[in-house]
């Protein structure tokens, strides 16, 4: 297929690159996952409070974006409902953390979120494209306002304070577990019939159907799986925030950010969302507090650049892509200077005629 690059340096880069980004080999994927997880596991022992908090955000976005990509990336059903599942998880956590164990709370968050996803999916998963995206967004808003209304009218509160919260390391380890699980599930699903079916739905849904894929069941199942992760992440994150209200936990920006990360990283890839989540949380933590506008602008710019010049996402970045960009820029620069002489030539011809 592709030929090996010539120089030693290029060959080395090529090897590192295929090792890291090609999703063909199970053993290698698992090895990378274990290495990253081990590194993240050790972090709380030597990292400062700031670094650990940044890593937590990072793990949260890895779990959200990777699980989003698992369904939405492969089937190309662009869901904006991540915030709905996240918020539901957060509320489950706020309601039951006092009476239930930590893992039971996380499990319940995942369960409730996927239950809602099954209902939501049954209603809207026969729609495609814009309609699906807009309806998932609309349903998120509906859930948010319904809960806000309920809290105000029935329980008479605006938000909830979580008093009994687990230690920082417990939250961190839970989030790490969820992130690892999200990647592991993605690795596994990509190699199963279920994953093949999802891929078929993304490529040509009707064709997949005529070849025997029960698309409805596959879509609802995939959507529920994605939602379970978002719900679990929400349940774990709410204890970090200690005070939650519908506006924060159902913030649609959570859904947008997840989509942005997945798009920038590469929706068709396994490691893309993870790479982008890391870049993203570094940006978020370093820019958000000092220059919030700059943070959002950088985000927008990154998205535009990746859509225009790197449609496959960060994970599709190759050495040859960079070379191509360099050549393109040089050609563009030449072009910029050339027209003068060409124009001159034209006018000469013009006068002759």
């Amino acid at each position: 297929m592709s030929t090996l690059p010539a120089t030693r340096w290029e060959r080395l880069v090529y090897r590192v690159r295929t090792f890291l980004l090609d999703t063909e080999h199970l053993g290698r994927d698992l090895l990378v996952l274990v290495a990253l997880a081990g590194w993240a596991l050790a972090l709380p022992h030597y990292g400062s409070e700031f670094v650990v908090s940044m890593a937590l955000t990072c793990l949260m976005y890895i779990a959200l974006a990777t699980s989003w990509t698992l369904f939405c990336g492969t089937t190309r059903y662009l869901s904006l409902a991540t915030a709905a599942f996240f918020g539901l998880g957060a509320y489950v956590s706020a309601l039951f953390i006092d009476s239930w164990g930590w893992l039971a709370v996380i499990g319940a968050g995942a369960g409730i979120a996927s239950l809602v996803a099954v209902l939501m999916g049954s209603a809207v998963l026969h729609l495609r494209g814009t309609y699906f995206a807009v309806l998932t967004f609309g349903m998120t808003e509906l859930i948010r306002h319904a809960i806000a209304y309920w809290e105000k009218q029935v329980t008479g509160t605006v938000g909830r304070v979580l008093t009994v919260v687990p230690e920082r390391d417990t939250v961190y380890l839970t989030m790490l577990g969820l992130a690892v699980l999200a990647v592991a599930v993605s690795i596994v699903v990509r190699r199963t019939r279920f994953g093949l079916g999802l891929m078929g739905i993304g490529a040509d849904e009707q064709r997949a159907q005529t070849l025997g894929v029960n698309t409805r069941v596959a879509k609802i199942g995939g959507f529920a799986l994605t939602a379970a992760f978002a719900g679990a992440v929400g349940a774990a994150m709410s204890v970090r925030w200690t005070y939650i209200d519908p506006a924060t936990v159902f913030n649609p920006f959570i859904g947008f950010q997840t989509v942005l990360i997945a798009l920038i990283g590469g929706v068709a890839t396994l490691w893309g969302p993870l790479i982008a989540a890391i870049v993203f949380s570094l940006l978020a933590e370093s820019l958000r507090l000092q220059a919030p506008q700059l943070y959002l602008m950088t985000l927008g710019l990154l998205l535009i650049l990746s859509v225009l010049y790197l449609p496959g996402g960060l994970a599709s970045l190759r050495w040859s892509t960079l070379r191509q960009w360099r050549d393109d820029t040089q050609a563009w620069w030449k072009e910029l200077r050339e027209p003068k002489s060409r124009k001159a030539a034209n006018t000469v011809q013009g006068t002759r005629a």
Binding site: L196, G200, A203, R207, Q209, L211, G212, V213
Partner: protein, 248 residues
């Protein structure tokens, strides 16, 4: 077998708003039949196929596969009942390899179905359709006529009893058309498949099928052996005589 036809349509009607694309068409196809469907442009051939494969729910009418009622079922259930189809424009998974495209059907509808030795695995199907040499190429990279063969291979991978072919010879050269017709006959003869074949090029089709249905403005105006059908005055009128006399 239990005496039921492989596939039976009773009074199938498909309406799109005010337009009746298929109008009260009934037909039964016995096991091992090689039948053709012809008709002028817009006669409702493809819409009828869509109804026969579950892709389009009929407005009214009933469908039976082997005596079992399939009306209202989803396409994957039709596939599970051994009804496979191809599409007019090949709809292969362009990014997957040719072999992986075949594998797709084997993984789903074809997974638990009994099959002939010829449909044993990827390799045997690729060999049958003559694409063994292209197995490793991405499906988007092979020629359009190879994609038509792959489209048939994908349908065969569901290990069907009945194959619906929608203009598989369109855009092929004369030699390729002949090879395609040979392949279709072979599928029927060696795999015992029932084949229903739509073709716009009437002459080619009439040479190879044993039975032909003629659709005109959504209605079935003739159904019988090619030699009888081409003498049917209504058919001659629908085609303005041209192609029919050539075929005769």
């Amino acid at each position: 077998m239990n005496g039921h036809p492989q596939l039976e349509a009773r009074g199938v009607t498909v309406r799109f708003g005010g337009l009746t694309a298929v109008d009260d068409v009934s037909a039964a196809f016995a096991a091992g039949e090689l039948a053709g469907i012809i008709g002028p442009n817009g006669a409702g051939k493809t819409t009828f196929f869509n109804a026969l494969s579950g892709v389009q729910q009929p407005t009214s009418g009933e469908l039976f596969a082997h005596g079992q009622r399939l009306t209202g079922a989803k396409p994957h259930q039709y596939a599970a009942h051994g009804i496979a189809r191809t599409f007019q424009t090949p709809r292969v998974f362009g990014q997957l390899s040719v072999a992986a495209n075949i594998d797709f059907g084997l993984q789903f509808a074809g997974l638990h179905r009994k099959s002939s030795w010829l449909l044993k695995d990827e390799d045997s199907i690729l060999h049958l359709i003559g694409l063994s040499d292209q197995a490793g190429l991405p499906a988007a990279a092979i020629t359009p006529s190879q994609q038509r063969l792959l489209e048939i291979g994908m349908a065969l991978a569901t290990r069907p009893k009945l194959l619906l072919l929608d203009e598989v010879a369109a855009g092929l050269t004369e030699a390729e058309v002949e090879a395609m017709a040979q392949l279709i006959r072979r599928l029927r003869d060696e795999l015992d498949l029932t084949v229903i074949w739509i073709e716009h090029a009437v002459t080619t089709l009439l040479r190879h099928v044993e039975r032909v249905l003629v659709l005109h403005q959504g209605r079935k105006i003739a159904d019988g052996a090619p030699s009888e059908v081409i003498r049917n005055p209504e058919v001659v009128e629908a085609y303005l005589g041209d192609e029919m006399t050539e075929a005769a």
